[in-house]
């Protein structure tokens, strides 16, 4: 049985590991390579690393840091941040990264998705959509760390990414970032219904129950989180954690019909 993936998402800012709230106020939480080592030991399903400076500063991905991540990481790795060209994507895959995430550049020029997919294969191309609601409740895709509104609908953008050969969609809710009060399940459901690509959802997870609710809603899905895996307690003390294999199995049995059948 294919399992839902539980995916820590690490944000890199000034070479340090940070966590934001609604994409703002980055709080330093430690050394990113050290975090990778801890997730290796905990056997995390996958890892997402996003450099939140690269696009905003208009600079290239930090290939030296990516190489360090790739060398240290014993689980599949998805890197995003500042990727604008086919050459950059090829170079990142060449460093030993499984998946390259595109955001701003792909929203501006969606053909970048197909051009990269042709070179590295669809399975390695991830499109990250940062979604924010307007005061009137309309959900739109934002880029540059939530500073630029593209005015595009996440559903239309996800469909377009699928058509152009993306291998995965990551839906990241800006409104829920760092809130730890649950995913935007309605949005996740809409994207799930609109495409047949693997999908991961980021933004809002604060408990295993939140992850369970997402699995209940979307089935075999990637449940990604930042705060949930780096903070502990109401005062948000920094402590990296990840569910044990037993906790993961129990979660699947409780929320995925196929998992219950498999163990029945």
């Amino acid at each position: 049985m294919l399992r839902p993936r539980i995916i820590p998402c690490l944000l890199v800012h000034d070479d340090g590991l940070v966590k934001t709230v609604k994409f703002k106020d980055p709080k330093y939480v430690g050394d990113p390579i050290n975090a990778v080592k801890i997730f290796n030991e905990k056997e995390a399903d996958e890892l997402i690393v996003l450099d939140i400076d690269a696009t905003v500063q208009g600079r290239e991905p930090n290939f030296r840091l990516i190489a360090q991540f790739a060398a240290e990481c014993r689980m599949p790795l998805c890197y995003g941040g500042g990727v604008r060209t086919v050459e950059q994507a090829k170079r990142i895959i060449g460093l030993g990264v499984e998946k390259v995430a595109l955001s701003a550049a792909a929203v501006q020029d969606p053909t970048l998705i197909s051009r990269i997919a042709e070179e590295v294969g669809s399975q390695s191309v991830v499109v990250v959509l940062d979604v924010k609601s307007s005061l009137f409740g309309k959900q739109e895709v934002w880029t540059h760390n939530g500073r630029k509104n593209t005015g595009k609908s996440p559903i239309e953008m996800a469909k377009e990414a699928e058509r152009l050969g993306a291998g995965e969609i990551v839906i990241n809710s800006i409104d829920r970032d760092g809130q730890m009060k649950g995913y935007d399940l309605a949005l996740a459901r809409k994207i799930r219904d609109a495409t047949r690509l693997p999908m991961s959802v980021l933004g809002g997870a604060g408990s295993l129950q939140d992850i369970g609710d997402l699995i209940e809603q979307c089935g075999v899905v990637g449940a990604s989180a930042g705060s949930f895996f780096v903070f502990k307690g109401q005062y948000r003390a920094v402590l990296i954690s990840y569910p044990t294999p037993e906790q993961k199995d129990a979660l699947l049995r409780a929320h995925l019909p196929d998992a219950r059948k498999a163990t029945a």
């Binding site: 049985m1 294919l2 399992r3 839902p4 993936r5 290796n40 056997e43 399903d45 996958e46 790739a70 060398a71 990481c73 014993r74 689980m75 599949p76 895959i93 060449g94 460093l95 030993g96 499984e98 998946k99 042709e118 070179e119 590295v120 294969g121 669809s122 399975q123 390695s124 291998g167 995965e168 047949r196 690509l197 693997p198 075999v220 990637g222």
Partner: protein, 203 residues
Amino acid sequence: MIKIIDYGLGNILAFQNMYKRLNVAVGLARTVDDLQGATKLILPGVGAFDHAMEQLDRSGMRQRLDELVLGEKLPVIGICVGMQMLADRSDEGQLAGLGWIPGEVRGFKSLGQPDLLLPHMGWNDVSPQPGHRLFNELQSDARFYFLHSFYFECKEASHVAAVSHYGKEFSCAVSAGNIHGVQFHPEKSHHFGAQLLKNFAEL
């Protein structure tokens, strides 16, 4: 020494790191000369089938690999697209495969299941053939990380070393004598993958 065939595709670094932790010496082969002294071979691979075959041809190692694997019977393992390259051909491309294990590579899309999410991405259960040495200590509860849209269809059922289920039951590992292949990524599959790579080293 185990030589990893470095023809510009696949996560060479991840294999090196895994074997370093296992205390097994590995080297890279970028040219025919580098293949000297190889006792076992790893053929990694990612991306499109034709691109992988072209890259391998371009490396100039193709003929020597045929001699080592088919003539001298050196144990070899193909990983992901590296496994698909062992087949005669692939629905994904036009070029012929290595033809080391009789079979063809098919796309999950051709199963005609509109609800099947593609690519097949994530951790899936793997059921090995009982007693298969590549799956020593992985006979129960083994799971590995998959990332692919095409799968290997063996001509001979006896070449199926392990199966997994996605849309249908498919061969996720193949074995014919000294030639092996796995569709999943052992280099990214934590202790399950480490055990499989250790088993290959000990074949």
